[in-house]
Every structure is written in C-alpha cells, then in structure tokens.
C-alpha cells in the first residue's frame, strides 16, 4: 500500500513538474528539449519509470503500467499542446516581423503604349475592316495630278486655297489629303470598292491649333446604287462605336471639289449630350469630318462609269478624334513625345 502511495506521489510530482516547466516555456526548441527530458525512452523521467517496470512485482505490474501510461499520455498531450501554441506564437511573430508598408511604390513592370493617334487609327481600322474595307496606304509624297487634278481641283482652282500645299517640285508635293488614295485605288480596281486610307497629310499651317503634319483617314465606297443615305448610315454606325451608342450625326452642306453633294458631319456632343457645353462651344454639336457623294468627274477620271456606279467618300482627321476622345487640349502635345503625356494613353 505504502509502495502504491509512493508511486502515486512520484507520478504526481512529475505531473507538477511538467505543469511548472510548461508554463514558462517560450521557444519551441526549449520545448523540444523539455519534452525529451520527460518522454525520451532512455533518459526521460517517464521513460525511466517505464524502465523500472521490470522491478515491479508481477501482481502490481499491471496497475503500475497503467498509471505510468496514463502519465505518459497526459504528458504527451501537454507537450503537443505546448508545441502547437508555441508554433502559433512564433508564426505570429514572423508575420509581424515581415510587416510591409503596402503604400510603398510597386516594382515597375509597366509596358509602354501606342501613340494616341495610332490607338484611334487602329480602332477605326478595326471598325471599318469589319464592314469589309481594305486598308490602302498611299505615299506621303504625291504628285499634283493625284492630289488635286484627278480630284477635280485643277491648277489655279480657288479650292486649292483651302489647303496650303508644300511643294517639292513643280510636279511633286506633300499630299494635303488622303483623298489622293481614292484615285490610285479606283484606277487599279473595279467596283465594288471599299477602301480605308489612313496616313499623314501636310499643310503649310503652323499655329496654336494647326500642325503642319497631321493624320487623316479617307474612306471610299463605290458600287451600284450607293446613296447619301448609305453614307449617313455608315457614319451613324461609326460614330456610335467611337463616341458611344447614344451619339447621333448631323449632316450640313459644305463644299469639296471631289464630292457632290458635299457635307460636313457633326456629332452630338458626347460630353453634354447636346445641351451645350464648353467642348461643343454651346452648340451641342461637334464637327468631326467631311464627306460626300463622289463627284462624277472623279469617277470618270478613274475610268469608272458614273452612270452605272456611284459612291461616297469621307475624310476623318485622326488627331481631332484623338483630342476629342481623350480630352487632349492642344494638338502640339501629340508631337512632342513627352513621356508624361504619352503614358496617359495606356
């Protein structure tokens, strides 16, 4: 009996010792050592008790083994618990030590971007390519015939005053309009013709709102029975894609030598919806392009029978569209290659 009490006391002492030492523990390494000092099968205190089993009288052995096992299981649970809580605590510390200031700057990995005029040009190409337009890029240097005469603007015609031309020789000049592309295409193909002709054009004009070089995109459709209504229909579709679904167009009379009738095309102001604002100068409308029904003389000049075929053409200023679309206040910004400007069009 006394022996039994002795055993109980010994076990209880170990329990107390474990309880005591676990309490102050703050590192998992020390906890590991502690666990070993009790549970190691050779050197641990509980291990020792197990080893003493063989010295216990046979009739008490079962009881002894049971008590020691209970202690061992209890101790294991305590140490597991300790381990978990320490690991948790240590993870927490690690996280805290790795705290960052998320408002610090990102690591730079931004790509560059296309020029705003390219963005507009490619978008327009996508829209019109989907309608079956082929893309034709003429040359920047053009001769007088293609730029003017074939477009019903002979030498000394007052319409030449509409565009101040850069001349390279008596015959060659910098094209003033992508309309010159019309002639090249019509001379070399038969209707149905649907051509989109983007490119740089040049006029001797350099002030706050004019640049001596800018970009245009000419569109041309020639087939049987093409009407002004078809022009309006196509432009309606185009402006809705560019400026938004609710945009409408307004045609008003104008004059270009190569179209008859000729129109200026205004779009309802996409900023104020037509109520009048600073963008549309209070009119509710913004002028975006010139267009018209291809002049019979132009068709004739290209060997296309004007009694059988008709067509329409339109010319869009790409800088103007880009400026309207992105709110760019000054055309000169487009040619200055200021990275702070360019990077805004990503």
């Amino acid at each position: 009996m006394a022996e039994q009490n002795g055993l109980r006391d010994r076990l209880e002492a170990i329990r107390d010792e474990i309880r005591q030492s676990v309490r102050g523990m703050d590192s998992s390494k020390a906890a590991y050592d502690l666990r070993k000092s009790f549970l190691d099968s050779k050197k641990g205190k509980i291990g020792q008790l197990m080893k003493e089993m063989k010295n216990i009288p046979a009739e008490q052995r079962a009881e002894y083994g049971k008590s020691v096992n209970e202690l061992k299981n209890w101790a294991q649970e305590r140490f597991d618990e300790l381990d978990r809580s320490l690991k948790e605590k240590e993870m927490q510390l690690r996280y805290e030590s790795e705290k960052i200031d998320v408002t610090m700057p990102a690591v730079k990995m931004r790509p560059g971007n296309l020029h705003p005029v390219t963005l507009v040009r490619e978008e327009l190409i996508d829209i019109f390519a989907g309608m079956g337009f082929e893309i034709f890029e003429g040359s920047e240097v053009e001769n007088d015939y293609y730029n003017f005469t074939a477009l019903n603007t002979p030498q000394d015609h007052p319409a030449r005053d509409m565009q101040d031309t850069f001349y390279l020789s008596k015959e060659f000049l910098l094209r003033t309009q992508t309309s010159s592309g019309q002639i090249h295409v019509m001379e070399n193909s038969k209707p149905p013709i649907k051509i989109l002709s983007p490119g740089k054009v040049f006029r001797s004009d350099d002030d706050a709102t004019h640049s001596p070089m800018f970009s245009q995109m000419e569109g041309l459709v020639v087939d049987e029975g093409i009407t002004l209504g078809d022009l309006k229909g196509m432009l309606d579709l185009f402006v809705q894609k560019i400026f938004g679904e609710q945009t409408t167009t307004r045609l008003r009379p104008s004059y270009f030598p190569f179209t008859e009738p000729s129109v200026e095309v205004d779009v309802s102001c996409f900023s104020c919806g037509g109520a009048g604002c600073s963008l549309c100068k209070g009119t509710g409308w913004i002028e975006v392009l010139g267009a018209g029904v291809v002049n019979r003389k132009v068709l004739e000049n290209c060997g296309i029978d004007p009694d059988r075929y008709s067509g329409f053409a339109f010319g869009i200023g790409l800088e103007r569209i880009a400026m309207l679309r992105y709110g760019i206040p000054n055309i000169k910004l487009l040619f200055e290659s200021d990275i702070k400007v360019l990077k805004q069009f990503y």
Partner: protein, 806 residues
C-alpha cells in the same frame, strides 16, 4: 464676308430673328463664323435733353440738368466743350455700360460701368457721351467723330433708347463662303439665298438712270486678249463733282470694313460689296488718246499702281492701257496715272470679266492683291458686269455726283447671259440622296432658286441662272434640293445595294502593328514626329558631306528652315525627343517611332521618292545600356522569326566603341549604339542615350511568316560551363560562333562572366560560357558530352588560341 442685316433687308423681307436667320443660313450651306451685334457692349444709354447748363467756376466743367423722360431728370457734370442748353445727347444712366477711353477721350481702353459720382464736390448722376464712348465713328454716324458730345437729332425723344437712333442695333453676319459659290461673295448673292430659304421675293436693287451728260465722242475700247477678258464694259460720266459720299453709303461701307474715299470711288466699292462685281473708275480726261486697250503686257513693261508700287510686267499679266501705255493692272489695281483726284471732272467706269486663273496667277506672281483681285481669283460671272455698271450709273445719279452720258462701250465675246436649260431624271436626282423628295417640294425649292422648274413625269427641266456656273450635272440639282429641303430628311441606310467585300489589314500592316505592340510590351512609348526636319539635324549628327542622308529632298516653300527637308533618318528627331524629356527631369524611358524616311532616286525630284518605313528606338536611364537596347533588337528578330547579327561600327554620332551595325543574312539593316558624348553635350542630355534605327523595309520578307514546330528531344539537355582564357581582342561573337560550329549538338551558348585582372596575364581576358548540348534521336552515351567538349576546346585552341582556364 461681312453682311449687315439692315443692308440685306433692302432685298428681302426678313421676318425672322437674327438668330433664326443664322440657323437658316447654316442649314443651307452658309456657315456664320460670327454674328456681331454692333451695340452689344452698350446698354442703358438714352436720349438726354439738357434743360439747364451752368459753368462750374474755375473749371472747364458744366453742371447740367438732363431730362431723360420716363427715367427722370438728373444732375450731370460734363466736361465737353459743346454742351449747351436745349441740346440732346446720349445720356448713360447710372448702371449703364459704355466704352471707356483714355485721357484724350478718343483712344478706346475697354468698357466702363457708370456710377454715381462727384466732380469738384458736385454730385453727378450719369454721363453725357461722345460718339467714341458709344463705339461709333464718324463713318458710322455723322458727328460721332467729334471729340465732344454726340449731337442727337432734334426729333429724338428724351428717355428713348439711343441705340436705334445711332444705328447701334445692327447685326452683322460674318459668313464663310465655300469656293463653289463665288456668286455669294456679295450682299445680293446672300439675299438670293435668304429669299429662297425664307420663301420670300427677291427685290433687285434699282439700276435705272437717265442720260443727261455730255457724251465722250470718239471714245473706244479694244480688247486684244479676249481669252483673258471676255467682256469689257466702259461708260462715260461727265460733269463729275468729287466730294464726300452721303452718310448712309459711308455707314454701309464702314460696316463691311471699307474706308470712304470719295463719292465716285465709294460707288465702285459699294457696287462690289452689293453685287460682287469689282469695278474701276478712270479719270475720264486723263485717258490718253481717249481709248482703252485691254491686252497682255509687253515684256518688261512697267506700271505704278495706286499704292505707288512699281511693277515690271510680262505677257502673263493683263493690263488696261490708253494709247500711251498701261493705266491699270487688270482686275488687280488701277494705275497712279489715271487715279481719281479731287479735281476730276469726268470718269470712265469699267465693269469687266477677267479670267479667274489669270488674275490669280498674276496677283500671286506680282505679290500685289486687292479686294478686286481677291474677287476675280474666286471667280466673277459675266452676268454681273452689266448689272453692276447699271447700278453704278444709277448711284451716280442718286448721289448727284455726275451726269451719265450716252457713251457706253460693251466689248464681248458673245457669251449668253441668259439662263441655260438643264434636264435631269428625277429618279437619278433622288437616287443620289437615297430618298424621294416630293414633287411639290422639288418645284417649290427650285422656283425659290430662280430655276423655273418644269416637271414632266420623270423629266425635270430647269433654267439655270447665269450666276450659277457651278451647276453642272444632276448631282448638283440633288445638292440644291437637299440643302433647302433639309439634310435631316436623309434616312440612314446601310449599303443595301452594295456587294460584300473582304476587308482588313495587309500582311505588312499587321506586322507593323505587331512590332509596335511588341515594343510597347518592352516598355517603350510610341512617338510621332514630323516627316520633315532641319538641315541643322544633319549637322548635329555630324554626317559627312557625302553621306546618303545628306541627299535630302527640299521643300520649296517650307514654313521655316527647321522644317525644310524631308527626313532621311528618324534619329535626329528622336534625339530631340530624348532631350526634351530629360530637360523635364524625366531621366529614364524608352521611346520608339515607326515612320518614313525619304530618298530621291535623283535630285531634283523627277519621280516619286522611295519612302522607307523605318523604326527608330531610344533608351535612356540608369538601368539602360547598349545591351538592353540590343535586347530590344533581338526581340524584334524573334517576333519576325529571323535573327540578327551585330558587328562593331563607327558612326559619326555614336560612341566609337559602343556602336554596332545590325545585319540579317549578311545584309546591313540598321545600327545601334550609345549616342556620342559630343551630341549628348550638344542637346544637354544628363544621362546617356542609346539609339537604334532599323529599316523595316529590309524585313518585309519575314512579315507574316508562320512559326514551324520543331519536335522536342526525348532526352534531357546536358550543360557544361567552360571558363576560357583568350586575347582581349577576341569577341564574344567569335567564340560563340567557334563553339557552335565545333559540335552539331550545341543548341545554346550563353556568356555568364567576363574577367580581366590580376589572375590573368596582361592582354588576356577570361570569358565563361554555359554550353547546352541537346541530344538528337538517341540519348548521349556516358562520356559523349565530354568528348564533344574536348572537340570544342581543340577547335578553340586551334582557331583562336583559346585555352581552358586552369
């Protein structure tokens, strides 16, 4: 063109507001740039009757009691010398706005609002005004030029708004006239359009006169160049008394921007504004030989024009001569010798049609222009010559400044001034528009345009007035109809009758877009620069005299020297772009441009030049060097499924030891390198820049190529690192080439270290490479790769004296 509403109303009853008229003009093709209200800045100025006027002692001032009718009676101090009891003057009430003038009372400095004030301790409620303070001039209202109070007519009612009395209720339309409508470069022309748009009758100006003058016996006109002058009308007026024009005429001329000169000259200017026909008046006594000859100038012939400039002429110039020589540059300006003077007693009026293109060319070639030459350059229709002459003679009679004689000479080539007939199919006309305009509207619109339409089934017959030479075919009729009918009637359709076409970008356009996007992906921003540049750009690059880039095409009429040459390289403008960025403290960046360079086949230009699509890229900043830019070049090669090689090159604008030419299949396609320090200094770069230019036109054969799959080896690659010692001058490229050629299983050679220093002999360097061996059909045997390495080392030793580093 300036069109005063009051003048327009002489010919049309206008019953819409000035703003509604602006809308009407706009919708039928006449854009109003500006609608000016003459008295817009002036308000609350009324007729004031000075009932009492007492001098303020020791001053030039008067204190007045001014009756302003319904507004009350006010005490006003006034400093003008012409203020008197019983006088009626403009009174600016307290709160009124008038023109502010400087101390001289004549120089306009801005606008001012009238406040209650005190002058010399005496209260003043309001201000009596001068003409200048209302924005008037002597021409606009008689007496307004006086430096003192503006005297108002005796019948002006005190308290009445002063603006209608002095003509400050005027509206002026500044209208943009398109090049196809020279007939609308005059008030009457606009009136015709307004009448049609408002469905009103057009009242023609009076053109009647009575012959009372003394004829000019023996006067003759000979036209020796009818090709340049199809019509010439001369008419002689006797008993001329040169003097001032009446106030109404001076006012109208002032409203449209003309100075009054003298009655006879004012008549010619008035008629031009009204009818559009430039006219000229010669001193009738001065024409030597009493004759006019219209001919081409003789080579070297001289004339001094009214503005005292002398011109030396040639047969391209048309002149009006008397029996001795030129008295006018036809259609451009009169000669000083036949000018109207204050003592002129007889004049010969000229109304002629000179050919547009000739006047245009002469005016440009001589650098001499006038309102007249501007009008002829836009085109004058023969119809107006007769109308204008009759109108001028009527005005002579109306102004009483001369007696119209019977001496009238009309030389013409027999052109009809009658309406001409045109027939068209209504179906075709409507076909242009895509809608059907109702027959009654067709008749209404064309009648309003004086075209006397007759509709017979599908056949429309119209009579085109002689001032509508722009009407040529049925699309013109369609345009006339739709601009009056309204473009809002056009119904959008979507190519109902057109055939389907296949569209899209060409292979080249697709490839160029891919290249742009790839460069953006590498952090570069796309730029766009002008196609022309400066001779100084070529100097900046220090290009030698015989460099191909120096063979530039010159613009004959550049804006300035900086924009005078078609560019032969994109580099100069790219350097400028880098410089602009660095000056704005942007010290790192990547830029590129794809654009054309221009090379003439021969100079001067005989044929279209070559336009070479070229890529230029620049990188600058701490992280950048030659090899980052080279990486961009190699990315381009990979995108196009090709490869480039690089060889050292010396360029005048590059660092002498950091430049390379770029080759593809042995062909030089471009260059890259660090910008020379000299240029870096020239353009104030703070950090070095690296530039590259590649002629994309060399690469078009790789556009649109499709990648072809190569099967992967079933066995893993083997890698070996080789540290090699060699002469300093041996390049990485040479070693790489030697390694590759030594063994066919080598699929990659990558340099990973270069060392020069103490552990290596002087004049030598060490380069370390990782060599990758890729097995073929069978795996490498246990010692195979070691054998290949031996073979490589032997080859290196044999060809380049390269040793393995021990």
């Amino acid at each position: 063109m300036l069109v005063p509403l009051s003048w327009l109303k002489d010919y049309v009853d206008i019953d819409v507001t000035p703003q509604e008229l602006e809308e009407k003009l706009f919708s039928c093709g006449f854009e109003v740039d500006e609608l000016i209200e003459t008295g817009a800045d002036i308000h609350d100025v009324v007729v004031g009757l000075v009932e009492k006027c007492e001098p303020i002692p020791d001053t030039h001032l008067h204190v007045c009691s001014v009756n302003a009718g319904e507004h009350g009676t006010f005490q006003v101090c006034c400093g003008a010398d012409n203020v008197r009891e019983g006088g009626k003057y403009p009174l600016a009430l307290v709160g009124a706005q008038v023109i502010e003038t400087a101390k001289d009372h004549m120089t306009v400095t801005g606008l001012m609002t009238i406040k209650k004030g005190k002058l010399r301790g005496i209260d003043s409620e309001g201000m009596l005004c001068s003409g200048t303070e209302l924005g008037l001039t002597e021409e606009l209202y008689p007496g307004a030029g006086y430096n003192g109070l503006l005297e108002l007519p005796a019948d002006a009612v005190p308290g009445q708004d002063v603006k209608p009395i002095v003509g400050l209720d005027e509206w002026i339309y500044n209208i943009e006239i398109t090049a196809n409508r020279p007939d609308c470069q005059c008030i009457l022309g606009i009136a015709r359009e307004v009448a049609a748009a408002l469905n009103k009758e057009l009242k023609m100006p009076a053109t009647d006169y009575t012959v009372t003058g003394t004829p000019n016996e023996g006067f003759s006109v000979t036209v020796e160049a009818p090709d340049l002058c199809p019509r010439y009308i001369g008419h002689y007026v006797s008993d001329v008394k040169i003097g001032e024009s009446p106030a109404w005429m001076k006012r109208r001329l002032a409203l449209v921007g003309n100075n009054a000169i003298s009655n006879i000259v004012d008549i010619t200017n008035y008629v031009m504004k009204e009818i559009g026909q430039p006219m000229h008046a010669f001193d009738g006594n001065f024409l030597r030989g009493n004759r006019i000859i219209v001919r081409r100038a003789k080579e070297g012939e001289k004339i001094v024009t009214l503005d005292e400039k002398e011109f030396t002429l040639n047969p391209e110039n048309l002149v009006i001569c008397d029996s001795e020589g030129p008295v006018a540059l036809a259609g451009i300006m009169g000669g000083l010798n036949s000018e109207i003077r204050s003592d002129t007693t007889a004049v010969t009026f000229e109304a002629a049609k000179f050919m547009r293109d000739n006047i245009r060319r002469s005016s440009r070639a001589l650098g001499q222009s006038s309102d007249s030459s501007a009008a002829f350059s836009k085109g004058i229709y023969e119809y107006t010559t007769v109308l204008a002459m009759n109108r001028a003679l009527h005005l002579v009679e109306e102004l009483g400044c001369g007696r119209v004689s019977a001496t009238h000479v009309d030389v013409n080539t027999g052109n009809s001034l009658e309406k001409r007939e045109m027939k068209a199919s209504v179906r075709k006309v409507n076909g242009v528009l895509g809608i059907t305009i109702p027959d009654e509207d067709i008749i209404r619109i064309l009648s309003g345009l004086q075209m006397e339409p007759v509709l017979n089934g599908d056949e429309l017959t119209i009579k085109i007035p002689p001032y509508r030479e722009d009407m040529e075919a049925y699309p013109d009729i369609a345009e006339e109809l739709i601009r009056m009918y309204g473009y809002d009637h056009v119904k959008p359709t979507f190519l109902d009758s057109a055939r389907v076409t296949s569209g899209g970008r060409s292979v080249r356009q697709k490839a160029e877009l891919e290249i742009r996007k790839m460069l953006c992906g590498l952090g570069a921003y796309e730029c766009m620069h002008y196609s022309f540049f400066s001779p100084s750009d070529l100097d900046l690059l220090r290009l030698p005299e015989d460099a191909p880039e120096r063979k530039t095409i010159r613009i004959l009429n550049p804006i300035n020297e900086e924009l005078s040459l078609m560019r032969t390289t994109l580099a100069a403008q790219m350097i400028a772009a880098v410089s602009r960025n660095q000056k704005k403290a942007i010290l790192e960046g990547r830029l590129f441009e794809i654009g054309s360079t221009f090379y003439a086949k021969e100079l001067p230009l005989q044929d279209y030049p070559e336009e070479r699509t070229t890529l230029c890229a620049a990188v600058f900043g701490e992280e950048e060097d030659f090899f980052t830019l080279k990486g961009i070049a190699e990315n381009l090669a990979e995108l196009l499924h090709t490869s480039f090689t690089f060889e050292p090159v010396q360029k005048t604008f590059l660092h002498p030891y950091r430049g390379a030419k770029i080759l593809r299949n042995g062909e030089e396609i471009g260059w890259l390198g660090q910008l020379s320090y000299e240029i870096q200094k020239d353009v104030d770069l703070r950090v070095p820049a690296y530039l590259m230019e590649i002629g994309l036109y060399h690469l078009e054969d790789c556009y649109g190529t499709t990648p072809f799959f190569s099967p992967l080896s079933r066995y893993p690659d083997e890698k070996r690192d080789l540290a090699l010692v060699m002469d300093r001058e041996i390049t990485c490229g040479e070693v790489e080439e030697a390694i590759r050629s030594a063994c066919r299983y080598v699929t990659d050679v990558t340099l990973f270290d270069v060392y020069e220093g103490a552990q290596i002999l002087t004049g030598k360097k060490s380069m370390a490479f990782t060599v990758t061996f890729t097995p073929g059909e069978e795996d490498f045997g246990p010692d195979a790769v070691d054998g290949y390495v031996d073979k490589i080392l032997r080859k290196l030793k044999y060809t380049l004296a390269i040793e393995l580093r021990s």
